[in-house]
Each structure stands twice: as structure tokens, then as C-alpha cells.
């Protein structure tokens, strides 16, 4: 049939329509197999924790586990807070005022994961090295954090992350 060879034909339409439906079908079949690797409902259900900061006395630090990661809770001494506030913002690789780092200045709460490649910095135990700025020291590749958990020296690009948290009572915080 000569005329079917000119321009588009119904067969071309069928080809394209079939391929398009097939592609949509394939894509929607693939999605469940991709999404199954995302956090499951029971994992998401454990995504927030509560912690009583009254158990941490001045000068002491406690590590709690949140979403599989360590969270550092440190009850800072007035001296440590003073040191953190005294630093000019311009001296910081990732500038952030100390006031933005904690809801209550005495209780510093940061995620204890080095922003370089994910090691857990030292400095929670009294016997740990705390680096040149008295906060934390990451032994993996030598990052120094100050008493507000801000990066001061070393390869890490960012300050230790402050997680979302709020006080549900005077002393109890809910993280996440």
C-alpha cells in the first residue's frame, strides 16, 4: 500500500504508543524495588529519642545513640562557654555564633559524627584528647573542634551538626 509509506502512519502511532505504555509500566515496576532500600517503617519509628539532661552534671559529657549515630551531650562549664563566645566569627572556617549552637548555653547537643568522612571524634571521656581548642579531636585525619563543636582546624569542612531538638520539660529534650 503505497500511501502508508508517506509520513506518519497508524503503525508508527501504535509503535510509539506501545513503547510509551511499556516504559511507564517498567518505570512503575522498578520503583518498589528502589524504594524498598529506603528506611522501613520500623526504622523511621525509632527516629526520635528523649533524654534527661539533668543526668549530665557540669563538666561531664554523655553519648546517646540516635538513628544509629552518637549524639554528644556536654554540660559546658562557664569557662568553656566564655571561650566559645570570645572567638571572632571571622576566624571560623564555618562561621556560626555560639548562641546559635545550643538552646540552653550550658547544654551543648551535637551529632558526634565528624563532618569530614564520618568518624566519631574523641573528647567525651576525661582521658580523651580534646584537640587544640578544647572541644573534640577527630583522630582519623586530624580535625579539631572547639567547645561549641565548631570546626577550627583540619580537613573537616563543617561544624558538628546540631540536631533538631526541643525541651519537653525543664530538663528533658526530645531529639529528632
Amino acid at each position: 500500500m503505497a500511501d502508508t509509506h508517506q509520513g506518519e502512519t497508524r503503525r508508527d502511532f501504535l509503535y510509539i504508543a506501545t513503547a510509551a505504555v511499556g516504559a511507564v509500566g517498567a518505570a512503575s515496576a522498578v520503583w518498589p524495588f528502589v524504594d524498598q532500600m529506603n528506611p522501613a517503617a520500623d526504622v523511621l519509628a525509632l527516629a526520635s529519642i528523649e533524654f534527661d539532661t539533668a543526668t549530665v552534671t557540669e563538666g561531664m559529657a554523655v553519648t546517646v545513640k540516635w538513628r544509629g549515630k552518637p549524639v554528644f551531650v556536654r554540660h559546658r562549664t562557664p569557662d568553656e562557654i566564655e571561650k566559645a563566645r570570645a572567638v571572632p566569627l571571622a576566624d571560623l572556617p564555618d562561621p556560626a555564633a555560639d548562641a546559635t549552637r545550643a538552646l540552653k548555653p550550658e547544654q551543648l547537643i551535637v551529632v558526634g559524627v565528624c563532618t569530614h568522612l564520618g568518624c566519631v571524634p574523641l573528647g567525651q571521656k576525661p582521658s580523651d584528647p580534646r584537640g587544640d581548642y578544647g572541644g573534640w579531636f577527630c583522630p582519623c585525619h586530624g580535625s579539631h573542634y572547639d567547645t561549641a563543636g565548631r570546626i577550627r582546624k583540619g580537613p573537616a569542612p563543617k561544624n558538628l551538626v546540631v540536631p533538631d531538638y526541643q525541651y519537653v520539660s525543664d530538663t528533658v529534650v526530645r531529639i529528632g
Binding site: 520503583w31 518498589p32 524495588f33 524498598q36 532500600m37 529506603n38 522501613a40 517503617a41 520500623d42 526504622v43
Partner: protein
């Protein structure tokens, strides 16, 4: 020989790694009889079913824990918590059933059209090997959720080996890795359940190499005689296979979404209890004919031998049916017995699912007897006494009318490709 490719990158690669030449050869030049009907769709469907099983199985293994204390709970977690876990599990569960449906149809297609006959004996025997591997895989997979049916199915089937004289008991202990089905058993079953599908892939590759040696058989059972009898696989059969796949996926999805536990046993949603056997234990439906044969023999060793024998006769089938005519269409008496066999296997499936008592036992004994009579007596005798109908001279003859089929084949223009 080497096909010409327009794309220069394709040409560059093909010169060094002739993968495109290979594909062109196997898909385009590969001569396919032009008269294949829809029964010939089931081979490629089986291949797709295998891929579906692999993908869903590997994803399930990302969430499954092979330990007696956690297996059941990890499966429930897949059903409730893992994103789309319910869908992936139902695909895998029902995929197994559909895989067997497809392969059983594929086998009966071969039985009817005589596809097991020379020169396709090895192709057929590799198929039987695939079937055995599929059964082993399905059996071990069913144990993994560690429900009541998992546990007692595993116990009963592994105990089959205790029928072997002298060494039977030691073999069973060896299979279990203990004195009962327990954690070591579950661990090794998981390992093997993951392994065997890849062994199946290997045998399928051999199956296809053997297939492409002589090409597909066809409904008439006569060989390709000239270019007129054949068409390129692509696009003709790729389109036909794709259409069949569409129909298959519709039916499959209907079951997965609307009746996902249709093939399942409710008892398997009860966690395994090694101290209590469920009142009525049955294997998955695709094992029922073999289970019926096992139970119809009132002797432990005998039952096991007959059960494995029912598969062994398939292995030697090419030498039991000596009739030179392949297709059942031209064998008037064979055709009748073929359908009796189909009914017989359906009956075995039915009896296998019923309790082993009263009338059911009698029925399954008759059905078992006929199964073996069919292969060991009827087929050999038919090869001698049956007078087949006149075969067409070529695949084209019945279409084009008397005699015209053979000569001058080259003059016939091939159908337009587009």
C-alpha cells in the same frame, strides 16, 4: 558473515567483541518456522519468570534473616514495615507458582508436539534438569519463612531420604546438620536457595544453545525445508512473545494484587513449632502430582522410588516414544492418550491435595498406575502399531495447497519488514 552496523561505535566494539554480530545472528538471522502458535510463547515466558524470581528474591534477601529465632519475624517485618515489602514478597511467592504453571505448559507443549524427539533429545533432557533444579529451589525457598508448613514440609521431604537402605538415616542427619530440622538446616537452605537459581541460569543457557542448534520444532513437526518456511525471529516472534508477556503480566498482577494468598497455605502464617504437626500437611500445589505418587505406594522405599521414577521416565522419553512422527496432530491414537495423560496428571494433583484415606487412596493408585503405563507401555507400543496420518511435505504446503510448497521457494518475496 559479520553484519554491517551503521553506528561507528557499534562497529568499533563489534570488531573487538562481536556481541552485536552474535545478537544479530541469534535474533535476526536465526531461522524460525513461520507457523509457531501461542504454545511456543511459554519458553520465553519461563525465562522472564526466572528473571522476575531473581530480582524479587535478591531484594527479599536484603531484609530476610536466616535464623530460627528471627526468620518468621523478619518476613513479617517485610510484610508490614519494609517499603513495598508486601508487594515484593507477593511477587516472589506467586511468581513461583506462575513459573511452574508456565513451565508445566511448556513441558506439555513438548509432549504433544514431540519436541523431545531427535535431534532435540539433549534439549529436552536439559529441560528436565531445569525442572528438577526448580523443584529443589522452590522447596528450599518455602522453608525460609519458618512457618508451620515450612518446618513440617522440610521435615517430611528430607525424611524421604531415610528410605534409602543402610545409609538413609546418616544422609538425613547430614542434610539437617543435627538431629532434627533446625537452625543449621535453615542456614544451608538459605545458602542453596540463593545459589540454585544461578545454576538454573547456566542450564538455561545450555538449553538455548541446544535449541539454536536445530531451531524450534513447530506445530506440524516437519523440518524447515526452504526459506519459504521460515521468518526472522525479530520482529515477528519478539512481537508475538511481547504480546504473550502482556497477557501473562495481566493475569499475574491480578493474582498478586487481588488474591495473593490464593496458592498459599494459611498454616504457614503460624510460626514453626517443632513439637506440634498441623493436622493436614500438604506441599505447594506444583508438587502435588509427585506427592500423590509417593503416597499411593504402600511402602516407604517404593514410594520414594516411584516418585523419582516419575521424573526419570521423562529423561528417557526420547527412547520410549520411537514413532518418527513428531507432532501429535498427525497421530490419531497418540492424541487420545495424550489427553488421557493430561487428565491423569490433573487427577494426581487433586488426589495429592486430599487426605490419604478411603477413596482418595484408590483413586491415586489408579492414576499413578496409568502415569507409568502411559510412558512405559502405551508410548512404545504406539510407536509400533499406530498408523500416522499423511504428513505435509513442508510447513508451507498446508497453507499454499497441494504440492506448490516446495519448488520455486526463492521466488516468493518475503513479507515487508515494516
Amino acid at each position: 558473515m559479520a553484519a554491517k552496523f551503521e553506528n561507528s561505535i557499534v562497529r568499533w566494539i563489534d570488531h573487538r567483541l562481536p556481541i552485536f554480530t552474535f545478537m544479530h545472528h541469534e535474533l535476526h538471522e536465526y531461522p524460525t518456522p513461520k507457523n509457531l502458535n501461542y504454545w511456543w510463547n511459554f519458553g520465553s515466558l519461563a525465562g522472564i519468570a526466572l528473571v522476575i524470581m531473581l530480582i524479587s528474591g535478591i531484594t527479599l534477601a536484603m531484609h530476610y534473616t536466616p535464623h530460627v529465632d528471627y526468620a518468621f519475624d523478619s518476613v513479617e517485618r517485610i510484610m508490614r514495615d519494609v517499603n513495598y515489602g508486601w508487594l515484593i514478597r507477593y511477587i516472589h511467592m506467586n511468581g513461583a507458582s506462575f513459573f511452574f504453571i508456565v513451565v508445566y505448559i511448556h513441558i506439555f507443549r513438548g509432549l504433544y508436539f514431540g519436541s523431545y524427539k531427535a535431534p532435540r533429545e539433549l534439549l529436552w533432557m536439559l529441560g528436565v534438569v531445569i525442572m528438577l533444579l526448580m523443584m529443589a529451589t522452590a522447596f528450599m525457598g518455602y522453608v525460609l519463612p519458618w512457618g508451620q508448613m515450612s518446618f513440617w514440609g522440610a521435615t517430611v521431604i528430607t525424611n524421604l531420604f531415610s528410605a534409602i537402605p543402610v545409609v538413609g538415616e546418616s544422609i538425613v542427619t547430614w542434610l539437617w546438620g543435627g538431629f532434627a530440622v533446625d537452625n543449621p538446616t535453615l542456614n544451608r537452605f538459605f545458602s542453596l536457595h540463593y545459589l540454585l537459581p544461578f545454576v538454573i541460569i547456566g542450564v538455561v543457557v545450555l538449553h538455548l544453545v541446544a535449541l539454536h542448534r536445530f531451531g524450534s520444532n513447530n506445530p506440524l513437526g516437519v523440518d524447515i525445508k526452504s526459506a519459504k518456511d521460515q521468518i526472522p525471529f525479530h520482529p515477528y516472534y519478539t512481537v508475538k512473545d511481547a504480546f504473550g508477556l502482556g497477557v501473562f503480566l495481566i493475569v499475574f498482577s491480578a493474582v498478586v494484587f487481588f488474591a495473593p494468598n490464593f496458592f498459599g497455605e494459611p498454616d504457614n502464617y503460624i510460626p514453626a513449632n517443632p513439637l506440634v504437626t498441623p493436622a493436614h500437611i500438604v506441599p505447594e500445589w506444583y508438587f502435588l502430582p509427585f506427592y500423590a505418587i509417593l503416597r499411593s505406594i504402600p511402602d516407604k522405599l517404593g514410594g520414594v522410588l516411584f516418585m523419582f521414577g516419575s521424573i526419570a521416565v521423562l529423561f528417557i522419553l526420547p527412547w520410549l516414544d520411537r514413532s518418527p512422527v513428531r507432532s501429535g496432530q498427525f497421530r490419531p491414537i497418540f492424541k487420545i492418550f495424550f489427553w488421557i495423560l493430561v487428565v491423569d496428571v490433573v487427577a494426581l494433583t487433586y488426589f495429592g491435595g486430599k487426605p490419604a484415606e478411603g477413596w482418595y487412596v484408590i483413586g491415586s493408585r489408579f492414576a499413578t498406575a496409568y502415569y507409568f503405563i502411559h510412558f512405559l507401555l502405551v508410548l512404545p507400543l504406539l510407536s509400533i502399531f499406530e498408523t500416522p496420518r499423511q504428513l505435509p511435505k513442508s510447513i508451507s504446503e498446508p497453507v499454499l495447497g497441494g504440492g506448490a510448497g516446495l519448488a520455486g521457494a526463492a521466488t516468493a518475496p518475503r513479507e515487508n519488514d515494516r
